[in-house]
Subunit: 401 residues, 2 copies
């Protein structure tokens, strides 16, 4: 017997209308995957939807959805934390699964929402909140669930990656690349959340929570954006054999979890160096599995809508399955950025002999009598600066080897 | 209440002993993911296991395992088609899930085994048979299940990729690179299945079956290996801005499915170009999701063992869930390789004007008065050869743009 699974769409903007489009287009595939029939029963939006195919299903009051027991899945694509959070919480408590693309809500209130879902035997799913179409959350919760995760490095923001790609490929300045990204619709009118690194920061917090259950408040994460990047930095990265990317990193070493978002020289041997333009990539150091990398469209109407639908199929197909997601806990004590060991690309105004005497592990990329470029791995910023305290450091950028 | 889930390991070679090792090392993680306790009750091998920790669980007769109703999961890592196929079929019919790394069995008998699993309400899982640790099968059956899959391109064999990487990076000849791969354990004493492309071929057949349910007999697939590759081909690929890889491709265009395995010039903008040495990469053109790429260790004891364990967790955790996998069907009518549209890198002894007159879409990479190099996309080999029948073609290699 085929059942109807009623869903509600909250927010009929870019992503919300994309979900409706893709559902319509792929209806046969989706229904066959679920084994039942998905039906959009309500669309909630402040706007007038009378000119859309969903005019007869438009509602302006969330209570209508909440009180309708026939609705089992709510897709929240409202943006902003309120009323998105309140609606999500109310839906979960009413026994409805919630699917979201809203990274702000997941990063800030994920602990409560994951807990509420578990307590009410429903799902809170957020694949679309990180990496667009890339099935990173599902992979970590599924294929990688039996493997220790040691480290995650991600290019998680399409806007900044587009800007950096243009700076790299066409030697544009940051301002010119940003203007172009705006013109092409890759950057919003107010691109602050992207270029400040805040967006990447929320996403790496979500991935760390998935990996280790530890939700670090994003305000506590060391986060540098790309606003101060110069064409000189870009050229330096190139001279090191790499490319400049905004990289979010989460590490767990001896039970200490640390997160950061910074511009990074990604050396060409690292597979995430291949993510250019608006693509995203996430590399996971997954214990016995070795390094796994996932790459795909990090944003965009249809890629993000597809991730929502992928979660929808999961929630619908698995609705009778007992489940309990591991709860998240609040990790407010994090290590200082300067104390965590990373790799670094350095341009120093000194001889390579002098560098080698204080940093025996330095790997030189170029050297002259009074200047040298090198990579130093597995050392904290604090220690690196101490060792080089007598020297003139002309460039110092985190690296991904 | 915690239940014990008894498993049996068939074949205690490299992968089989790896499964035992990883299970032991990650026991807490695995059991927590399953919610119950996994226990290795039997290890079947012809060899004497008295010096291993599994001496008391060693059996030489499959009947012991088959007739023990307390065994719910059988991990088949025997290699070869027999008795692997018979054991797998018997286990499925006895209501035991079967997990395998044996691509030969999956590619040849997958249709029967998938069907038997479905009929008996158990699982036949084969993640480890394609792409080592890369969770490609799970991703296609999970996150991508609601999306049309148009095309799959994969670097699916670590041995050949290692050889080609060494030819590229160090200008080694094929023979020298193969000798080195053997010395380092990347190639077997008899590397025929790898270097002939047969291994990649079986794997792309499996991926096509997962994507579209269509199991193409691997004998029917156009398959070229890397044995005839010269350093000249390698240099040509480089001059085109790419790198030579052994690429397996599966396409579905207007309901026509076509598969092939050939050396390919992978242009540097394509993310699978980043897969070097023994890494594998699979790129999927996934409709609304856009291009997705997964990358990871394509072989090796622990990566492959981890994929087995990942399937084990799935089979154990989902054992009470009703499921029916889409059946596979036998697709013995496939399009001719020469009729399928691909992209090509060509070096022709003629002027670019002449080329442009017959191939208006050709994109020139270099040209002189009497020679030119160009890329031509979306054209069949037959058509390309017809158009150039009056010209001297000095190099012609399939390309991935």
């Amino acid at each position: 017997m085929i059942n109807i699974i009623n869903i509600a769409i909250l927010g009929f903007g870019n992503i919300g209308s994309g979900v409706a489009d893709v559902l319509k287009r792929n209806m046969a595939l989706v229904n066959s995957a679920v084994g039942d029939e998905i039906y959009i029963k309500y669309v909630l939006d402040k706007r007038d939807l009378s000119q859309t195919p969903y005019a007869d299903r438009a509602v302006h009051d969330f209570e209508t959805i909440l009180s309708d027991d026939s609705v089992s899945i709510v897709c929240e694509m409202l943006g902003g934390t309120q009323p998105a959070y309140d609606y999500s919480m109310a839906a979960l408590k009413a026994g409805k699964s919630v699917i979201t693309s809203n990274k702000e809500v997941v990063a800030r209130f994920g602990i409560n929402l994951v807990k509420a879902a578990s307590e009410n035997g429903v799902y809170y799913l957020y694949e679309a909140s990180v990496g667009g179409a890339i099935p990173i959350v599902r992979t970590m919760k599924g294929a990688l669930i039996g493997t220790e995760i040691n480290r995650i490095d991600g290019i998680l923001n399409g806007t900044t990656n587009y800007i950096l790609t243009r700076m790299h490929d066409c030697s544009l300045s940051f301002d010119d690349a940003l203007s172009e990204a705006r013109r092409l619709g890759y950057a919003e009118t107010n691109p602050t959340a992207d270029i400040s690194g805040a967006d990447s920061c929320r996403k790496i917090c979500i991935l760390a929570a998935v990996a280790w259950g530890a939700m670090v408040p994003s305000e506590l994460v060391h986060c540098e954006g790309i606003t101060d990047i110069t064409t000189e930095d870009e050229e330096f990265a190139r001279s090191c054999g790499g490319v400049l990317k905004l990289v979010a990193t989460a590490k767990k070493v001896n039970e200490v979890i640390s997160l950061c978002v910074t511009p990074c020289v990604v050396l060409s041997g690292n597979p995430i160096a291949s993510a250019s333009e608006a693509f995203n990539a996430v590399k996971i150091d997954a214990g016995d599995m070795g390094n796994i990398m996932l790459y795909g469209m990090g944003a965009g109407k249809y890629p993000t809508a597809s991730a929502i639908i992928s979660d929808m199929i999961y929630a619908a197909g698995m609705r009778d399955k007992h489940h309990s997601e591991r709860g998240w806990y609040d990790l407010s004590k994090v290590a200082e950025y300067a104390d965590i060991r990373y790799a670094w690309c350095v341009l120093a105004q000194t001889s390579s002999d002098e560098i080698a005497s204080v940093l025996p592990k330095a790997c030189f990329l170029s050297r002259s009598d009074d200047e040298c470029t090198f990579i130093c791995e597995d050392i904290s910023l604090k220690e690196l600066k101490e060792k080089m305290s007598e020297m003139t450091v002309k460039k110092l950028i985190r690296a991904l080897v």
